[in-house]
Amino acid sequence: MTTLEFKNVTKIYNVRGAGQLKALDDVSFTLGPGQTIGLVGQSGSGKSTIAKILTQLETPTSGEVLLDGTPVPRSGKRLRKYRQQLRMVFQDPFASLNPSHSIRHHIERPLRLDSVVPSKEVDGEVRRLLQRVRLDADAVIDRRPHELSGGQRQRVAIARALASRPALLVADEPVSMLDVSIRLGVLNLLAELQSQEGLGVLYITHDLATARHFSDEIIVLNQGRIVEHGTADDVILRPKDPYTRELRAASPDPEKHFGSLAAQTSGGAL
């Protein structure tokens, strides 16, 4: 069973003309099989940087990323094996699929690149993956991305991520660009797939409610550092850090009646 460890990672970007930008400051956490960690924070807190470092699109300035105790390789065959273990689902369903290629192409590529199944079984495996994400394989397999809805595209993205049979999944705000009414459907699909495959999932989001619904543990990021880390219920119901409390208070509570906007601004919270 594969365990991912993020150890004292710091990431500093050099911005031309504006000095340095510290995106991450001494971040550490561990993700094990079958576990879901919710990574919560506002825009610019460093969530996407963590996702990029995990998928090797960026490298840490200091600290290390360990898979089963060994540091993640920088290049070569071992990097290929690492990439196979950890896959990402991107935020924007409209941009994460190549408009020129069919759905079949998107799911076939990881199958072929990682030789997951022998050549003649590839087509069957593509259909099987599409069925697993609750899409009608025949209807969808030869279409282009622009012919599908946002929810369907995100399911294709999940199928693509699962193709190489990874042990870990990074979901970077997977539902924040979908219609509110279908978000739960996609999240429940992720939960179901996770329990079936024993995946470790890093669920990155800015939405506290779905983080609580979906994760075992929650990490709260503020400007690159971890300000709170505990079980989901602990963090949401008994937050210790003032920033976490602010986040919680900022989420509108459908049970509370706020009155008019004018009453809100004259003496409301925040």
Binding site: F90, P110, D138, D142, S149, S181
Partner: protein, 366 residues
């Protein structure tokens, strides 16, 4: 209100059960689910080709393509179309105005101008295409590489193409071409391509840079796709429209450059093209009386240029829908009597509805 859990089932269900209150699920889901009641035709080669040719389907580029096709046919079937050998002299019939025997008259040594024009099409198109292909290949290599790489490598490639953009093309071509006495065809094409690749490279670099940051490219890289596949298979299909537009623009410049060089006399006159015709006309004082000698050649150059521009227009409008619809919207509104530039929004009363309401009222009061 249906639960979101039903959304995942709707994509596989019958059309009948899709009658849901508005707002639930994406409207597109409804449309696609209904549509896929009929099994979609497999994406064959032909259907994909048809889809990519969509950019040529509007009337402007269709016209341009037809004109191009005419020129290409003339070039291919030149020996059958031209009534005379273009170099055949007939000293009994020099400087004749157009007639039935000589559709466009004769030159100062009795050559048939029409035949020269027809055979000259070959020279123009062959060298033109060759030069454009060379220039476009270089532009793709330099531009896409410069867009994909980062840092000083990208900057230096960009500087290289900018240098060739700034240096005026014709003087450079004149200087290089005059070094050779009797350059072969491919060399002439290479000289033309030398000055023409930079524009395409610049445009491609900008487009590749924007593509590179798109999620689907990141996804491909994260999947471990090798570099050559990322560029050739993932990026290139999305660059086709730009490449097509650049190809057409470069060809226009190549044709103009070729005819100009021929007119000046820098290119040996053994290569017969429309510019050579003008060269001989100029040398033999055809201006202004013997108009049949010099007017058609210039018109042909212009016509070819127009055809290429039309094709380019078509591609432009396909890529930027705003250009396409702006004129149409304005015309449609004008037909309704509304000036699109009016600052005050005009309120239209629907006269037909008022008329029928009136009628109904009349009936009711009966």
């Amino acid at each position: 209100m249906t639960t979101p859990a039903q959304e995942s089932q709707t994509v596989t269900q019958d059309a009948q059960t899709l009658a849901q209150p508005a707002g639930v699920g994406a409207p597109e889901t409804l449309a696609v689910a209904v549509a896929d009641r009929q099994r979609p035709t497999k994406a064959t080669f032909w259907s994909q080709l048809k889809a990519s040719l969509a950019m040529f389907s509007n009337p402007k580029s269709a016209t341009g393509l037809i004109i191009m096709a005419v020129f290409i046919l003339v070039a291919i079937f030149a020996p059958w179309i031209a009534p005379y050998d273009p170099n055949a002299q007939n000293l009994n019939e020099t400087l004749q105005p157009p007639s039935f025997e000589h559709l466009l008259g004769t030159t100062h040594i009795g050559q048939d101008v029409f035949s020269q024009l027809v055979f000259g099409t070959r020279g123009v198109l062959v060298v033109g295409f060759l030069a454009t292909i060379m220039a476009t290949v270089v532009a793709i290599i330099v531009g896409v590489t410069a867009g994909y790489l980062r840092g000083w490598k990208s900057e230096s490639l960009s500087a290289l193409s900018n240098v060739f953009l700034v240096i005026p093309g014709l003087p450079l071509m004149i200087i290089v071409a005059s070094q050779f006495d009797d350059p072969p065809l491919w060399l002439i094409a290479a000289v033309l391509g030398l000055t023409g690749w930079a524009w395409g490279a610049r445009v491609l670099r900008a487009q590749t840079m924007s593509l590179r940051n798109r999620d689907f490219i990141q996804a491909a890289r994260a999947n471990g796709e090798p570099l050559h596949r990322v560029i050739l298979v993932e990026m290139l299909p999305n660059l086709l429209a730009i490449i097509a537009s650049s190809f057409v623009g470069t060809m226009t410049a190549a044709v103009l450059g070729l005819t100009t060089l021929a007119f000046i006399g820098v290119i040996p006159v053994s290569n017969l093209n429309w510019g050579t015709i003008l060269f001989w006309a100029q040398q033999n004082n055809a201006f202004p009386e013997y108009w049949w000698w010099y007017v058609p050649a210039g018109l042909c150059i212009a016509l070819l240029g127009v055809a290429l521009s039309l094709i380019n227009f078509g591609i432009d409008e396909y890529v930027n829908p705003r250009l396409r619809s702006a004129g149409e919207r304005a015309r449609a509104m004008k037909r309704k009597g509304i000036n699109i530039n009016n600052a005050v929004t005009q309120v239209r009363t629907d006269s037909s509805a008022a008329g029928s309401a009136e009628h109904t009222r009349e009936v009711k009061t009966e």
